[in-house]
């Protein structure tokens, strides 16, 4: 449907339709974010022998996040006197917008997809890099030393981990011969890439956790060191924007992992009668759970260890994986 609309000549009706679909999608994402935060708190709580949110919205705390967001909305908006005002206001927007933009290319099922870009993967990686600028801006504009340190750490971390992230995916791209995410899913009809490219999957998972600034790579906002890192001066809805960006990225990154390595909406053999979107959701939830699980277990790395791990371990591994994949592919092709 979307393909036809994209090809149709522009008119008011189309514009309105696009707007409605985008708004509906936004709501779905926000709904996910609401319950992802709840799920994270619940799972962490259960792992730590406690029950997690249980007061707002019944025994399961179903409205806890809604209440939290509501509270953030009515909170006083404070901007430090010595902050760089325009940048301070711009920073949350810069951090948040790309988080939504990247979702455009992700195919959720055979029919439920938005833009079918030929360079979908590249688009995702490129756009998600913009968030770093937002975080760096936030760190600088706050005029706070902790924020500055957090912003600097974040910039260094994002740059060093984007490279292994991209490199690990190249193996997949080599095997598929395309950067289009739909084609990557289609190529996994028989075997998901996690079995063909296990090394790439592990590197991707680690690098994606680092990209998401989650434990054990949560240095930019390391609570016990930098208090809250780059968003230490932000409050109210500006702060909510950073949190929102973080969780929308969690959504996007888990979706991307599902698409790249777990075969997207492809069913497990003999269970094809279950619709693709359910398969996608299941695999997606698995990835999100793993991320929460890791957060509940591991301590944080140190900044220099983080750097050396990225450059000295992940990058060479990813490069080796590319070579190996290329050689094997050539060997198979020549026979």
């Amino acid at each position: 449907m979307i393909d036809q609309m994209l090809a149709a000549s522009p008119n008011l009706m189309n514009t309105f339709l696009f707007f409605t679909i985008a708004a509906a999608f936004l709501m779905v994402i926000l709904g996910f974010v609401t319950y992802a935060i709840l799920a994270e708190r619940k799972v962490l709580g259960f792992m730590q022998m406690r029950v997690g949110p249980n007061r707002v919205g019944g025994r399961w705390g179903l409205l806890q996040t809604v209440a939290d967001v509501l509270k953030l909305l009515i909170k006083e908006d404070t901007i430090p006197k010595l902050a760089d005002r325009p940048l301070f206001i711009l920073a949350p927007v810069l951090a948040f917008t790309p988080a939504f933009l990247v979702l455009v290319v992700i195919p959720f099922s055979e029919n439920l997809k938005f833009a079918d870009l030929g360079i979908g993967l590249l688009y995702y990686i490129a756009i998600s890099g913009i968030t770093t600028i937002g975080i760096l801006t936030a760190g600088w504009a706050s005029n706070n030393k902790y924020a500055l340190l957090g912003g600097m750490r974040s910039a260094a971390q994002m740059i060093s981990y984007e490279i292994p992230l991209v490199m690990s995916v190249i193996g997949v791209v080599l095997l598929t011969g395309s950067l289009n995410l739909n084609e990557i899913v289609a190529a996994q009809e028989n075997w998901a890439f996690i079995f063909i490219q296990p090394v790439a999957f592990i590197i991707f998972l680690i690098a994606s956790i680092a990209e998401l600034n989650r434990t054990p790579f949560d240095l930019p906002e390391a609570e016990s060191e930098l208090v809250a890192g780059y968003h230490v001066e932000f409050s109210g809805f500006r702060w909510a924007f950073f949190m929102l960006a973080e969780y929308v990225y969690l959504f996007a990154m888990a979706s991307l992992t599902t698409v790249l390595f777990l075969g997207g909406w492809q069913p497990i053999p003999f269970l094809g009668f279950i619709p693709g979107i359910v398969w996608f959701a299941l695999k997606f939830i698995l990835i999100v759970f793993i991320m929460i699980w890791i957060r509940g277990t591991l301590p944080r790395l140190r900044a220099d260890q983080l750097m050396s791990f990225g450059w000295k371990v992940l990058l060479p591994l990813a490069l080796a994986n590319i070579f190996l994949t290329a050689i094997i592919k050539e060997l198979i092709n020549s026979f």
Partner: protein, 139 residues
């Protein structure tokens, strides 16, 4: 096996274990008998010996006595008795020295008030505070 996988196993195992948190305040906390909560005072038992006020490390007890209304009887009876809970540290020494067990501990520990003035407990309040009294007061 890698070291951190053991940790992952440990956290996963705990996911389904029974929770250890208290359901406070939905379910009130049961404190052991010896627990030191806010005091209960029996004016009729008090002999105005002033030992509690003397032993109090933070000087939060003030008391005054008056002559016994019955002229045949000797000694004094209590007139005013105040404990300032802004500074009381619930150390239990006042109940320990009291020869007649006129002041004892209760298990009531919810002392939060909206105003500091309400933390100044007088004789009447301490007399009426007679729930969850401690059974064992002397060793």
């Amino acid at each position: 096996m890698l070291g951190f996988t053991k940790g992952l196993k440990y956290t996963l195992k705990n996911l389904t274990k029974e929770k250890v948190t208290y359901n406070y305040p939905d379910v009130p906390m049961e404190m052991p008998d010896r627990f030191r909560g806010i005091q209960k005072f029996y004016p009729e038992k008090c002999i105005v010996c002033n030992q509690c006020a003397n032993i109090c490390p933070t000087d939060c007890i003030t008391l005054t006595g008056k002559k016994h209304p019955d002229p045949d009887k000797k000694g004094k009876i209590i007139d005013t008795y105040d404990i300032n809970f802004e500074i009381c540290i619930l150390c239990d020494l006042c109940t320990e020295v009291c020869p007649t067990e006129a002041i004892i501990m209760t298990n009531n520990f919810e002392l939060a008030e909206y105003s500091r003035d309400e933390l100044f407990k007088d004789l009447q309040w301490l007399d009426e505070n007679d729930t969850n009294k401690r059974k064992e007061n002397k060793t």
